[in-house]
């Protein structure tokens, strides 16, 4: 990494110069002055950032950089101390998470949230939007929703086949492997026909054998016209599939650029060296990532039990991040 060269100053996606917080030619998400503090600690402090439409954007950074918190803020799962952001030109500040999802901005979670005691198919059907049978009174009269349910089931089956989960259709989601759950979560998100898919560490805890297929699926989303924003540690994955990379450190956006050159940026090197000086980012194996997440899970579980509010789960995720950061 000693041969740090100056990255290119322009890029087709960018209007003007490439710089942290630069303006995009066609942005789908624009965030301004988003700040989130936990106690006295600032977890996120993003002055300006734009996500390009129709592209795969990676959000990277050392642990504790505030990536997941930023994700939570954008999707309404956490509330910022201040800031505004918009999705397709409409403000999303103070919009509750379920309405964010209805507007077409659907996320997955770092710790997979497959609904264990529902079958894989039921998981999928839950993703479909505007279901008539989801009203309590309409639910009682099957003819009102039977046709829609059938159409949704067909769509779900098609998606399951695409994600190679069709054999598991009737199994409880709890019986799936970690990687299969990641796939299910992604497929379920697609059921709602989103415009922007936000994947929080899609590779975490995934068996290496499944890695390639997951990468292909993420690329497939772009081919279907969706925008993808994902958080990832694994630089191999970032290099393989992303069109654009945004680097966060200590809550701020410190660099942006195309994946080929982003690691040459001095700010990125500094950001990573500050925290993970003993790890070559390119060689962090999946097992290592899995181990880190396993630890994080344990911490989060412990925290969940004693933290008082619903905010706590998101807060404690950040805890875990920060603890890792110190290790």
């Amino acid at each position: 990494m000693s041969d740090t060269t100056t990255p290119p100053r322009t890029h087709p996606l960018v209007e003007g110069e490439v710089a942290p917080g630069c303006k995009k030619v066609d942005a789908i998400v624009v965030a301004d002055g988003v700040v989130r503090q936990f106690g006295g600690l600032t977890a996120v402090d993003v002055e300006h950032v734009e996500i390009p439409r129709g592209m795969i954007t990676a959000l990277i950074g050392p642990n504790g950089a505030g990536k997941t918190t930023f994700f939570n803020l954008l999707t309404g799962f956490d509330r910022p101390n201040k800031g505004t952001w918009s999705f397709e030109g409409q403000s999303l500040a103070h919009v509750p998470s379920h309405k964010v999802a209805r507007r077409g901005m659907v996320r997955t979670f770092q710790l997979t949230k497959s609904l264990g005691r529902l079958t894989v198919l039921q998981n999928m059907l839950l993703g479909a939007r505007d279901q008539r049978g989801e009203g309590m009174f309409a639910a009682l009269v099957k003819p009102l929703w039977k046709a829609q349910e059938q159409a949704n089931t067909e769509r779900a089956d098609a998606l399951l086949a695409r994600f190679k989960l069709d054999a598991k259709r009737e199994d409880y989601a709890a019986s799936l492997s970690g990687g299969q759950r990641k796939l299910l979560e992604m497929a379920r998100a697609l059921m709602s026909e989103p415009t922007l898919v936000m994947l929080d560490e899609p590779m975490a805890g995934v068996n290496p054998a499944l890695t390639q297929s997951l990468l292909d699926h993420v690329k497939g989303l772009k081919d279907d016209g969706m925008t993808v924003l994902f958080v990832e540690h694994d630089m191999h994955m970032v290099r393989h599939i992303s069109d654009w990379v945004i680097v966060m450190a200590e809550g701020r956006v410190v660099a942006e650029g195309p994946p080929e050159t982003i690691m040459q940026n001095q700010a990125v090197v500094d950001a990573y060296l500050g925290a993970h000086h003993d790890t070559d980012l390119g060689t962090l194996t999946n097992q290592q990532v899995a181990q880190i997440h396993h630890d994080a899970d344990a911490d989060v579980d412990a925290d969940d039990a004693s933290a008082p509010t619903t905010d706590a789960s998101t807060a404690s995720t950040t805890d875990a991040d920060q603890e890792e950061g110190r290790r």
Binding site: L41, A302, A305, S306, P308, A312, A315, Q322, E323, R326
Partner: protein, 457 residues
């Protein structure tokens, strides 16, 4: 048993037509104030589908017929008693009787001074009287002993004068006394929650355990008080240990989920509570060790036991505070409370800490049980602990779940709120007020008054 074979289900017999045919069984009695019969007192018999109320006639006699053998609840409506007449034992307001061999059962309602009452402190009739002076205030009183109701209205602090200031002062002192008792028990709840994540719904039974062991040793087998106290404390600590060894440690081993463990504690609470009732019966029993002479401090009257128990509670709470902050094992306890996996990773034996927490909880709560029997008038009932369980939770939640210091502050606040509220609203609503405080806290500051909203690192 042959009679029951008629087949109608025990709880289902229709009450409406029951009066039409002569009843084969009956409850009856005479209500007298001294030698004078009392007229117009309402007695209600319920159970097995029967719900009959009778009033005493001019001769003070009453009788209620019931169609079949079985267990019935006979209760007296104390609000129909004439001014100045109170039940000697508040628990007699509602009792269960069984009609078995004979066809009629006589039920007595003895009146007069409460068994554990300490003269004219006013506290012994307390709940009824707004004045709280002398022994007369209690007629309108609702001793509140039915079912799982609040325990006897006995608050053992009174005043020698009627003005609001001294009333308030007396309530505050009583509230502090109560709050400190609650704190002793609540610290156990909060430490258990902090270290294991379990909300222990059987915690009230730890308190009752202390009271019952003390009752048995002092009153039934007549041990000297100090031996009884030492024995009770040792037994309570052992009982706490037994909880962990017999139930909660195996559950941790099995990795049973927290909601399941919560329900296990509910089952444990039911089992223990009714086992206590099986052992000592359903009544309220006086302790042989009395509450000592009444002391007058300024305008406030209080029993010696109150002063002693307040002092003991303060000393013990300070000791617990020192234990948690100064000793190695105390610090380890707080570390586990803070983050169990991190503590385990740094070499703390979490299982040992939890075991110590259970023993400590048993000890403190059992000790609080002894003191609580005195707070409610030197008597014991099988469900005293359960009746204040929610107050304990209120205190713990108010202070912030998991924090020992918070539990202390929260419990004292709950004690004060409970006692002071009796100056403004009906005393039988005082627990409702404490629970309302709990709900409001959860709504507006779920982390408790001392808790932090967010945890970091």
């Amino acid at each position: 048993m042959g009679m029951v074979a008629g087949g109608a289900t025990a709880v289902a017999a229709a009450p409406l037509p029951a009066t039409e045919q002569p009843s084969p069984f009956s409850f009856n009695g005479i209500i007298r104030d001294g030698q004078e019969p009392v007229e117009g007192v309402a007695i209600t018999v319920t159970g097995n589908g029967v719900d009959e109320t009778a009033e005493t006639g001019a001769d003070g006699r009453w009788s209620v017929g019931v169609p079949e053998r079985g267990t019935y609840t006979v209760s007296i409506d104390t609000s129909t008693l004439p001014e100045g007449l109170t039940l000697r034992d508040p628990s007699f307001e509602s009792r269960e009787f069984e009609i078995g061999g004979s066809s009629s059962v006589g039920v007595l309602f003895p009146f007069g001074e409460s068994s554990g009452g300490s003269g004219g402190t006013g506290g012994n009739t307390g709940t009824g009287g707004n004045t709280g002076t002398g022994g007369e205030g209690g007629t309108g009183g609702e001793p509140a002993t039915g079912g799982e109701g609040s325990p006897g209205g006995e608050t053992s602090t009174g005043t020698s004068s009627n003005d609001f200031g001294s009333q308030l002062l007396s309530r505050i002192i009583s509230g502090l006394n109560f709050g400190l008792l609650l704190a002793l028990a609540a610290i156990g709840i909060t430490l258990i929650f902090g270290t294991t994540g379990v909300n222990n719904f059987a915690h009230g039974e730890l308190l009752t355990f202390g009271g019952i062991v003390f009752y048995v040793t002092t009153t039934l087998v007549n041990w000297p008080a100090w031996i009884a106290i030492v024995f009770t404390l040792a037994a309570s600590a052992a009982f706490g240990w037994l909880h962990d060894w017999g139930i909660f440690k195996p559950l941790r081993r099995r990795r049973v989920g927290l909601v399941q463990v919560l329900i296990v504690t509910i089952g444990l609470s039911i089992a223990l509570r009714y086992f206590y009732q099986f052992l000592i019966g359903g009544g309220t029993y006086g302790l042989s060790v009395d509450r000592g002479p009444v002391l007058q401090i300024g305008p406030v009257l209080m029993t010696t036991s109150n002063v002693v128990s307040t002092v003991i509670a303060i000393v013990v709470l300070i000791a617990v505070g020192l234990f948690l902050t100064r000793t190695r094992i105390g610090k380890a306890t707080r570390a586990v409370s803070d983050n169990a996996s991190l503590a385990a990773a740094s070499g703390i034996d979490v299982d040992r800490v939890i075991r110590i927490v259970w023993v400590l909880a048993g000890l403190l709560t059992g000790g609080a049980g002894i003191l609580y029997t005195y707070f409610i008038g030197a008597n014991i009932k099988w469900d005293v602990g359960f009746t204040i369980l929610l107050l304990l939770f209120a205190g713990v939640t108010l202070g912030g779940l998991g924090s020992a210091f918070g539990a202390l502050v929260g419990a004292v606040i709950i004690g004060l709120v409970t006692e002071i509220s009796t100056l403004f609203i009906a005393p039988d609503l005082r627990y409702a007020i404490a629970l309302l405080v709990l709900i409001l806290v959860l709504l507006f500051r779920p982390q408790g008054i001392l808790g932090r909203r967010e945890r970091i690192g």
